[in-house]
Point group: D2
Chain length 266, copies 4
């Protein structure tokens, strides 16, 4: 399966859609899962954009702390579509924390979790995940957990905690890919952060001049999505025959060079 | 030059000293710089341990938020030895934020900075760095900045801010290596985090069972340094002839397999 | 009933025990409830100190973020004694979040809650309180909620949220008494913070020179409990005949002048 | 002198202007200083509103973390008018941290400071204040410091740190008045927080239903300024003949009952 990190803005979306055919040819993923929390102009997601991803063959969408930036997504999250928000958010918040998608006879559980350090989540990720996995038991062959968190301590600990119990734990949120992808001893593919899909030439998505100005002046600076140097960042995980086991995890870090005519289109 | 990420505890120290000869042969670094903020049992550094690093041929030591965990280091930091703590700490705090080391006729400025997000630093990194670079002007051929910070936004922004003005900006503190090492367009080698040197089998240095227990129970758990799976993580930066320019940055992620007799020694 | 704010260290304990007889005479409280999270040298509580409070006629003890500083209290918290830790902590953490004490035929429910802003609590105070109150329904005539929280927004909001549903919401944790004690329109006595019982001559309990040095130098400073100017801070709440209704709340801010021989004793 | 706490929104402004004549008659203050960081619809201040305060006889305006919410104030802050933002903000940020106002031959220095705990301020309050006081030396007879901070530890410590060196240290920011007003042993009038001027029937200014909904649902809730139960909160400080000495500090907590016709006007 292919998991793609936080898609940022229109450039991120174009990068994803532009590179997806090639990635499908090269890696032949059964499933494609995408973190979409930044797709709507850098913050949040709309029904239209979610539909566009699903229409492009994305099997499931995960989210994070920017889930509810666009209020119009709230109803969509409860519509049964394969889109998940952190499972350890409050039960009263729109949406659900896991879903099951099926392809070629394989059932994949997709789980979204939020860290509790530096982020606001109503329940504790390390407890909620046990509940979610108990619910998925018997209904899935493999499970992919997108752990949307800031602190590396939480992320690494979650990898160890779930090692052997899920097929993959992939971190998101920092928008910077880590160099620690590996299959842990218990058979779980792990990476602390897959990075983002969008402008590598900015500061985690924002125009670099604006990010620097904010840090140097402490004044309110209007943040716009950078348009520089689009890259797709993700991981390809090869699941084993045995449930909840991975054979390999491979990092995908690839620039997107739009064809000249494409550049002017969006 | 070789920069090695946060050396954690006795295992980290043995890993560094065990692998250093081989790394010197392979990369022939003119300078070796090491972040030592976690070398004393996981937190802080002592004069004895600092001396041990310098005696082993380390040219300069950088630190971070754990600088003052061991009070006995305070005087040492003011002794003129090539050890630096974040430059944007208060001027009244022991130690200095930059130093110059010379080898083979090349003068290297080593600067330590602390992030301001989620970390306590008395002054603003993005302003202090200008002061430090002005002071170093004319006294150095190359500059290495160790930016000890949590938030990726600060780190990436610092890379862009200093691009073309220093030879390298290397991030530390998260203990997880990132996969974004590159020479930026202005000629500055950059990586968001070089990772740590020590037990990859723990949770950023701590025994994994203890880290998980803390996150699952919210109780005070005594943290001990893990002894599992020692790795050295660092980067090798090849400086250009022109000052403040890098030609290449290469990530070093290498396990350490101590010789059997060595294992029982420490 | 009399509620006394965070008792800090030995001086706080002596102040409480020294003034309690006089306060009993003056206010004739049916119940005395005390926040004891700082009684053991400024941080935490021990079984011995809890027993001493109960032996002195304290009806119930509430706690807060320092609940587990002393591991020896853990078993005590589960022993059925009238001592409560925040109800919105994890169910696996030692202790319980509410208890019922009875005197003169009146049943008082005592509830402890932790804020979620700037403090770590496994569950959301504003949801957990509904569960707790449902459990207490029919078992109590009056309820006192000690909301141990930092942010005034949470505290004031909790007062309004519970107005008419409990007899009193009293805030603790900041160690500074607020001047907003009143009976809200729905009949609930409210105060944002009752303050602390102990050395008013320090900085929320700590020797003032040490607190200032820490803030001025950013260095690790050993904190000791101040011994200057002991005060008792609390509130007297007069409950109405009708359950969950208060008639009045009156602030108690009183210095303690130990008798000369007493001063040398502890 | 009369110091009035954070004036919140239009209701806060009307409350201040409505009660000011009576307070002038009762207390005959030489100076009136007002914290105006929330006067523009709850967040920030505009030149028009600042001018309105000054026209009403306010001698100086202090601010806080919401200083720059309205960009149109930036130029005004540099115009020499008696309006100050935290002195420990960056020197590049618009405005200045202290000013001197004179009346009846008495020169009053007004200083604004921001806390460093939970708030972003480019420099350390406990160091910057020494610089500011050195600059004011010889130019003022009395000094009023508005310390805009969240943590009680910082506030109480600042009171002790400045005791005897300034006439008054008054805390703001929490919007809840504290019950610890007193003249410290060195002669400095102190209070941890003077509270706010505006709707006591909300949650520190916001409509209570909205504040509760935000805390219970974790969803984005649009915050509007409450219109319930307007109060003015402040302190009256009587300065001594000797410079930098106060004789008394008295809390002012007073509801505003607008005349019927006035109610419909704004
Ligand atoms: Fe994101
Ligand atoms: Fe995120
Ligand atoms: Fe470290
Ligand atoms: Fe660190
Ligand atoms: Fe306390
Ligand atoms: Fe507390
Ligand atoms: Fe305010
Ligand atoms: Fe404020």
């Amino acid at each position: 399966m292919l998991f793609v990190g936080d898609v940022v803005g229109g450039l991120g979306r174009r990068t994803l859609l532009g590179l997806l055919p090639e990635l499908r040819r090269r890696h032949e993923p059964t499933f494609v899962v995408v973190n979409g929390e930044n797709i709507a102009g850098g913050l949040g997601i709309t029904p239209k954009l979610a539909d566009e991803l699903l229409a492009a063959g994305v099997d499931a969408i995960t989210l994070g702390n920017h889930t509810y930036r666009r209020a119009e997504i709230n109803g969509y999250l409860d519509s049964g579509k394969p889109i998940v928000r952190p499972a350890n958010y409050l039960t009263t918040q729109p949406g659900r924390g896991s879903c099951v998608v099926e392809r070629d006879g394989i059932r994949l559980g997709v789980v979204n979790l939020s860290g509790n350090v530096f982020l606001r989540a109503g329940r504790v990720a390390f407890l909620e995940i046990d509940t979610v996995l108990a619910e998925l038991e018997g209904k899935v062959d493999h499970v992919l957990v997108d752990f949307h968190a800031e602190a590396t301590s939480e992320k690494v600990a979650m990898g160890w905690y779930l090692d052997g119990r899920v097929t993959a734990v992939v971190g998101t949120h920092t928008h910077v890919p880590t160099a620690d992808a590996r299959v842990l001893p218990g058979g779980t593919a792990y990476i602390s952060d897959v990075g983002m899909t969008g402008p590598r030439g900015g500061v985690i998505g924002v125009k670099k001049e604006q990010a620097i100005a904010s840090l140097r002046t402490h004044m309110n600076v209007r943040f716009e999505t950078s348009e520089d140097d689009p890259w797709l960042m993700g991981v390809v995980i090869r699941a084993a025959e045995r449930p909840m086991q991975a054979e390999a995890i491979e990092q995908v870090l690839q620039p997107w060079r739009p064809a000249p005519q494409a550049a002017g289109r969006s």
